[in-house]
Structure formats: C-alpha cells, structure tokens
Amino acid sequence: MAINLHGTASLKNDEVEAAAVADLFPVKTFASSTKGWTGHTLGAAGIVEALITLVALDSGHLPGTLNTDELDAACGPQIRKDSVETRTRHAMSMSFGFGGSNAVVVFGAEAA
C-alpha cells in the first residue's frame, strides 16, 4: 500500500496525520506527501494528488517527500523521504479541507 498524504507541512495537520498513519498502517506502508513537488494547489490539491497516486500505481514510481530533511517525532517508519521504484497493488490519496471536508480514495491496480 502506498499513501499520498495531505501533508501540508503545517504543524498540526502533519502531527495528526502522521499519528493516524502510524496507528493504522503496517510499517512497510509507503507514505509520502507530494506537496513538496507541486506546492499546495489548494482547491485543486485533491485531484492533482489523486492523479499523482494513479501514476504511481501505474508506473511503480512512488515519489518521496521532497525537501523534508528531518521527520517529526509523530512520524512512524511509514513516512518516507526518498522516492522508490516498487509495485504496489493499492494506493490511497488523502485530502483534508477546512471545517472537516475530508476525502480519502483508494485505487487498486486490478479490479477487486
């Protein structure tokens, strides 16, 4: 499983998101935020990151978290700084909006 995090680099968002990922997913999960590559495209962030997630699932290239040097204490081993080449059967994209307008989509490489 690969996860494209909301990962805005705002302290509270990243802390809560990292804790949720650490609680819910096995350590081999690959989780990264691609906002370091694209910037925060605000209202377009959900669709931009969903497309990046689909490309990652299709190509096997999982982009890391650009411009992150040191991980916060809340981050488990799931949170990755470096990109890797690996095939994954499922990839998930998480986007969170002001006031709890949140959406998470899971894509599969094959029909479930």
């Binding site: 605000l42 006031g99 709890g100 307008s101």
Partner: protein, 247 residues
C-alpha cells in the same frame, strides 16, 4: 425594497454580529465569513431546517479579496511576516469551513467559483444536487469589495450575500416553486434588475444573485437567465408562489 416599493436604507447596516461563532473566531472572521454565515443562518431559520444536517454549496466570484490583497502585498514585501491566520482564511472554502464548524454540520459541502458565471454555476450545482439526491440543499452566494491594486483586476463593491434553501418538494415554509433547465444559449440576454436597491448593488461581483431575488420578491414568473460559459444558459422560472416574505 427589491419589489421597488421602498428606496434605499438611510445608512449602511452594521457588520453582522455573528453570534453563531465562538467569541475568538468571531473577532478573527473576515467579512466574507461574516456576511455569508449571517445569510445562511437566516435562510435556515426561515426554511425551518436544521443546519447541522443540510448539505451546502457556497459560491463566490473572488473569495476574500481583502485577504488576497494582503497575501500578495505581504509576499512581495516581507514574506516571512505572513500571518498564518490570514493564510488559513485565504482559501476559497473558508466561509464554508467556518459554517460547518459553527453548525457542527457533517453533511457534504462544496465551494465553487466560475468567474463572472459564479452565481449560475453555484445555483446549477445546488439544483442538480437537490434533483439527484432528493434532499434539501442550501446555496450561499457572496462577494465583498475589492482592495488595493487587485481591485483593478477583480472589481467588486460593497458587501453582498444571499442564501436559498432548495427542497425537492414543497414544504409548509416554501415561498415559491421553480422550474429550471440548462439550454443552448440562443440570443437570451442575462436578466437585468429594476429596483433601486438591486441597482445600487450592481457593482458587487455577486450581483447576478439579484435578478433571482427580485423576481421572487416581485412574484414574477421570469425566466431568469444565467449564462454558464460557452454556449449554455441556466433558465429559472418561478412557477408558483406560496408563502410571503416578511418585509
């Protein structure tokens, strides 16, 4: 006033008190939030619906022009001094977000814009949701005045906000029944306004909400025509009138 039977108010109304929000949020809330939450609250009260379970569509041409001007000026002059609160409030869905926090609403909301067609686009989104989901949806439309150099590119004057609760069937609180359709644009002109009150607000970027308000207030059938961009219009007809508005 929208019926054209009364002139303008002698003086400007004060900014809404915004009692819906906790005191600290109330002080920090920008004008966009103050006016949109006020009309949203009044629409829910009028319709007798619980905002905690009501899906909403917020539409604004420019979002918060004052904060966008602040963001541009601060990023140009002293980017490190950018206020995190202002950044937080700069997003297009800020008003919708504050509404969902204030009301504890867990129903879906969305925040749309489509430049000069923003009201028609928001109205279409709300009506499609009412039709496809067969549940009530509130539309909230607002724009504030332009500030600084941005005002030359994104002109808008005054504060203007309107809110409507649309339901799939008539309720005891319903004011009017409407028919709507999306049609090919074939020479139909965008509907104008007549009352002194509506004419005074034509400089606001959300002035497109005024013809719908005016025809409802005047109990006219319409249709009210909203261009939707290339080659299409949204046409709204008031087919029946029920409950009167309280003046």
């Amino acid at each position: 006033m929208l019926r054209g039977e009364a002139g303008l108010l002698p003086e400007a109304l004060p900014r809404p008190a915004l009692t819906l929000l906790p005191a600290n949020e109330r002080r920090r809330a920008p004008d966009t939030v103050a006016i949109s939450l006020e009309v949203a609250w009044r629409a829910c009260q009028d319709a007798g619906v619980d905002p905690a379970h009501l899906p909403t569509v917020f539409t604004s041409t420019h979002g918060d022009l004052a904060i966008t001007d602040y963001m541009c000026a601060t990023l140009a002059d002293s980017p490190d001094a950018l206020s995190p609160t202002k950044f937080h409030n700069s997003v297009h869905n800020a008003a919708a977000g504050y509404w969902s926090i204030a009301t504890g609403c867990m129903a879906p909301y969305t925040a749309v814009t489509a430049w000069q067609n923003s009201f028609g686009a928001g109205l279409l989104e709300a009506l499609v949701q009412v039709h496809s989901e067969q549940r009530s949806v509130m539309l909230v439309a607002y724009d504030i005045e332009g500030k600084g150099p941005l005002a030359s590119q994104s002109p808008s004057e005054h504060l203007l906000a309107g809110a409507w609760v649309f339901s799939p069937a008539r309720t005891p609180r319903t004011h009017a029944a409407i028919d709507w359709e999306v049609a090919r644009r074939d020479g139909q002109e965008e509907t104008g306004v007549h009352s002194a009150a509506a004419l005074a607000l034509r400089g606001n970027a959300m002035h497109q909400c005024l013809p719908l308000l005016e025809t409802l207030a005047r109990r006219e059938a319409g249709p009210v025509i909203y261009p939707l961009g290339v080659g299409q219009v949204l046409s709204i007809s008031n087919t029946s009138f029920y409950r009167e508005w309280i003046a």
